[in-house]
Symmetry: C2
């Protein structure tokens, strides 16, 4: 079956070629009038400037960790793979975001010239570039390294590289986007009373840049990390339990899943009669269906039974169901969001309390689904099955990321339409595209958390193998101590990231207030606001604030592993996995629910825009911003990164032994 | 050493006699003028009515669970002990609250007639009745059952009785007090613009009743449960690892700790020059110091070494330090609360975000302290040491509960002074006493959580023994599933209790609004508001809303144990312990911090009362109310109760086996 091993990277390359084709298709579109192009240019420059500044810092981080890995475990091949993982993640982020910042203005122009379907097609193509890059580079990287070296252990080095970049991309991007968003909203909308995306708002460009660096680049890096982590884990566990076939099976599922995603992109076609949501869903359904068929065929071929496919399909179905559950808790079509809207009538406090209650309650079904996924996949293939379930859930990553990245592109298109004063009908089209994007974003977040949970669990199992622990016993006091410390870390981490958003937003608020005060001509439209200074503030604040949580995520497993030993570290990883998944779901869904409760009121319920209920719902939405776009999603990375760090440095911990 | 076993219950009885002496001392005090006595009567009647109604429901619950225990595990002696535990808890709650509702008006009168010292003395004596009842009945119950039967296993039946009552007392009391508080505040203070405790507010009596049923009876039942649980666990583990001496040692520490608490009450003496806080702290320090000496002497006597004492002292010191940490995060003397106050200037959203961030951050130090406590006590005595640490932490329960219960008495005294129109100087004294009560309440909550964590852990170890599990291995998929489900339960439970407060408060708000509307004379002082209807609404709502979370707490471990088996149940208990402790600390401290940030602003910072910052801080405080007084503290009981249920029904789970 060796030829397969060389075929798989080829599919990865194919996907990149397809991404290139999509990108050039997007580039060829008309970018609209001069004003539109100017605005798009400013967004694109701001985004590129942030990524460049971020990567400069990350180079230092990568070099330091490279030396740490090399000297710490004495395996320079792993260290090199680490750098490769970091570079691949960077490439995916850079390329995907670059195209996204081209697609936004072209979507706006298509809405102006060609109507809904044309606009949907461009926005989705732009997102699909990110999707194909993430999945293509993931398959290429993992299968390429394994095909070249036949060494599975060093794959976790690649995974560590992906995780490190992902952490900073998610945390930095999350802080960037929310600082700009909160700053633009609080001063622009609330204090000055100008609408969203008004060109007079100095923070408006930064806000649109934020959508790209947070929701496109950050999200892409997050899923790249999960994708790579689950593949590396399934491959090593497969080798252990099922020999060569066990390693090839997950790679083949991923490769055919990638092909399925490519095929599925052709099914995403707008239809004047139905909603864009339906078109996007069609893409997901087609790719999922293909993966089911492929995984069954491959399982029969590799193992001569369907056990492998059961695990893969369990993961896939759980991922889809978590998305559905997320929609129920965060969409105004269902009772939870409506309830928050009602509570807004009795004031801000009850809005906050009911949103927190909804967020907490929304944890139960996803957790039960994950447990069912674990049960089924374990019954089918043991611990290897859990890793396969993660691979299954992530097998449609290509199309999932495409749909996710579509959202911020549509959002940006609306912003550009507003800022360049396009006709109201254009804005109506982009609004419709955007509102679908909000739902897909919430579902994408649920999916990201679900896949992070299964991936971390798979990596956790690999960790136990790596440090040669036969059991991690909760009755062992070292494990108990680890559990408590690990459980606490996501709380500490979330508190750090939320405070970071506060600090960064505070600086943005001051800057916007200063500009309004010093340049009274801005409000009258006679003077141009200084967009660049707001972009610079968000950039600087995000980069400064991402460091402490980032360092904590690497230092915590290293510190516990070295000081307390491998048993405590095992407990710590399990503890942070449990509380991390719960906090991430709680925060993401509470934030999503508040957001949509506000939008629900804005459509005319409970007094509509400007009512007291609306004011209360705006506070809920503002509290929800760092919940759903900074802290919540960053926890996904925290739990994966800590596990990968533990895994890569396993030889070091075994050598030192720890005090407990 | 058998004579000791009969001496210990005698000390329990001695403590009850002392409680009786204190109660009659309080009763003998003057109750003030007619108006004061009328108001006090209304509060006392409302509190008694609630407890009576609650106990009527609990009788049914106790009978059902009695039959469940008896038939389920076939041990009717355990079932009888369960009833005894429930009865003892009920007695402690009823007696303690009865005296508290006498002490409140007498404290107000003492402030009027005799000044600060006299008032402090009565309020503290009133609280000490609850303290002595809780600790006295705890020691009497556990040591009495063991002395009579020499059967340690049935003690968990007694513990289950204590836990069941505690759950309903905490949840019901918590919902009662916050429904009344939020209702009184939102309509009275915010809408009608009348001050706190104004007699024109129809919900004012219900609010004062709430302090008694929530903060006195609920808190007492909580600590009674921890106290009994830690003793039962230490006794059984002691028997297993150290024979008779191992069983007698924790009982002796508890008995001498009780004596130390009695002695310490005489050191709580007001001093015109220093603050009441100092006097209360003196009591805690004296009792702690005595426990250190006693535990060392007893350890030498029983084991011929100091290992037992090391474990006890580790627990004691960790408990004290958690109190100190709690103060740092929730008192306006330190930077965290000041920071929230600052954030109030930029609006409600930033107030909420910073409070949540402070609450989350505040989890780290207590968790690390608990880990240090586990480490030290395990090093000293193995798993038995963890149970001893819990006993050590709770050894000063007598004085701790006294200080805790002092708070609501002083709070009530202030309310009575306000409602009966006493002189401003009287209110100044009660305000001073009350403000100390706020700090001690926050510290008491931290202590309650810390002790719940160690007690649950000790009970968890006992559970593993009871179901004959040598390991509970996180690499076992059944344990992983349990961990996830268990981790989720505190989130689900908190969401339930918060929604309950919302619902109950909503009914209260409607009633207060109705009265103001239908009886316009209330505001002019010509018409008397209908206090009783508000009391009835709080009572009815609390009793109705406490059922679902209460049943869940019992049903979850039963369901998982029966369906999924003992391994999954072990994972579930560990998962809920970890997330439960974290959520409880987070919610309690965030609530305490918001409360004090509001008070900080009211003393004149950031614009003082009536400023925009103040309004934002009031919202923070209202969100914090269910956090700190309902959901947070209720989680303590949840994690203990679920573990005790698992422990008592262990024979059933072994017999059935579970599907996993």
């Amino acid at each position: 079956m060796d030829y397969l091993l060389y075929l798989i990277p080829v599919i990865g390359i194919l996907s990149l070629i397809f991404a290139f084709y999509l990108a050039s298709k997007v580039s060829k579109q008309e970018a609209g009038n001069k004003k539109m192009r100017e605005i798009a240019e400013a967004i694109s420059e701001g985004a590129a400037a942030f990524l460049t500044a971020e990567y400069k810092i990350l180079v230092i981080f990568v070099v330091v960790l490279f030396l740490f890995v090399g000297f710490g475990i004495g395996n320079w091949l792993t260290a090199v793979c680490f750098v490769a993982g970091a570079v691949f993640s960077t490439l995916a982020g850079y390329f995907g975001m670059n195209v996204a910042t081209k697609a936004n203005v072209r979507t706006a122009n298509a809405a102006k010239e060609g109507g809904m379907n044309k606009a949907l097609s461009i926005a989705f193509s732009g997102g699909a570039v990110m999707g194909m890059c993430v999945a293509g580079l993931g398959v290429l990287g993992v299968s390429g390294i394994y095909a070249l070296t036949k060494n599975s252990d060093i794959l976790f080095g690649f995974s560590l590289g992906a995780s490190s970049i992902a952490l900073f991309a998610r945390v930095g991007g999350g802080i960037y986007t929310k600082a700009a968003d909160v700053g633009a909203d609080l001063v622009g909308k609330v204090e000055a009373g100008i609408p969203e995306d008004d060109p007079r708002n100095p923070a408006v460009i930064a806000d649109n840049v934020g959508d790209n660096v947070g929701d496109v680049a950050g999200m892409g890096a997050d899923l790249f990390e999960s994708y790579v982590g689950s593949l590396a884990s399934a491959l090593t566990l497969g080798l252990m339990y099922e020999n060569a076939a066990g390693a090839l099976y997950p790679l083949s599922v991923a490769a055919l899943g990638l092909l399925a995603s490519i095929v599925a992109t052709f099914f995403v076609k707008g239809d004047e009669k139905s909603s864009p949501h339906k078109a996007l869903k069609m893409g997901s359904y087609v790719s999922s269906l293909l993966v089911v068929v492929f995984s069954l065929a491959l399982s029969k071929r590799f193992f001569d039974n369907y056990n492998g496919a059961i695990a893969v399909i369990a993961g896939l179905v759980v991922g889809i169901l978590i998305g559905v559950i997320t929609e129920i808790y965060t969409s105004a079509d269902y009772r939870f969001v409506k309830k928050i809207g009602e509570q807004s009538e009795t004031g801000t406090a009850t809005t906050i309390i009911s949103g927190i209650a909804v967020g907490m309650r929304s944890t139960s079904m996803p957790l039960i689904l994950i447990c069912i996924g674990i049960f089924l996949s374990y019954q089918a293939c043991g611990l290897y099955g859990i890793a396969l379930a993660a691979v299954g859930m992530l097998s449609t990553t290509g199309i999932t990321v495409a749909v996710d990245a579509y959202g911020p592109i549509a959002d940006n298109a609306g912003g550009i339409a507003e800022m360049s004063g396009l006709d109201k009908t254009v804005r109506e089209i982009t609004d419709k595209l955007d509102s679908v994007g909000n739902t897909t974003a919430a579902m994408g977040k649920g999916f990201a958390i679900g896949s992070a949970a299964l991936t971390s669990l798979a990596l956790f199992v690999s960790y136990a193998e790596a440090v040669k622990l036969k059991t991690i016993d909760i009755l062992d006091y070292r494990v108990i101590i680890g559990l408590f410390i690990g459980g606490m870390l996501p709380f500490l981490f979330s508190s750090m990231t939320m405070e970071s958003v506060s600090k960064a937003a505070y600086r943005m608020i001051e800057e916007v207030r200063r500009q309004f005060k010093e340049k009274p001509g801005i409000m009258e439209g006679t003077e141009k606001p200084d967009y660049a200074s707001c972009v610079a503030i968000s950039t600087k604040a995000a980069l400064k604030e991402m460091l402490l949580p980032g360092i904590m995520a690497v230092a915590a497993p290293l510190g516990v592993g070295i000081l307390l030993g491998t048993q405590s570290l095992g407990g710590m990883l399990a503890g942070s996995l449990v509380t991390g998944v719960l906090l991430a779901i709680f925060m993401s869904n509470a934030g999503g629910a508040w957001d949509n409760a506000k939008k629900h009121i804005e459509t005319g319920y409970h007094g509509g825009k400007g009512s007291e209920a609306h004011k209360a719902s705006v506070v809920g939405d503002t509290v929800g911003d760092p919940f759903k776009d900074t802290s919540g999603p960053s926890i996904n990375i925290l739990i994966k990164l800590m596990t990968v760090v533990a895994l890569v440095f396993a030889p070091l911990f075994i050598a030192i032994g720890g005090i407990l």
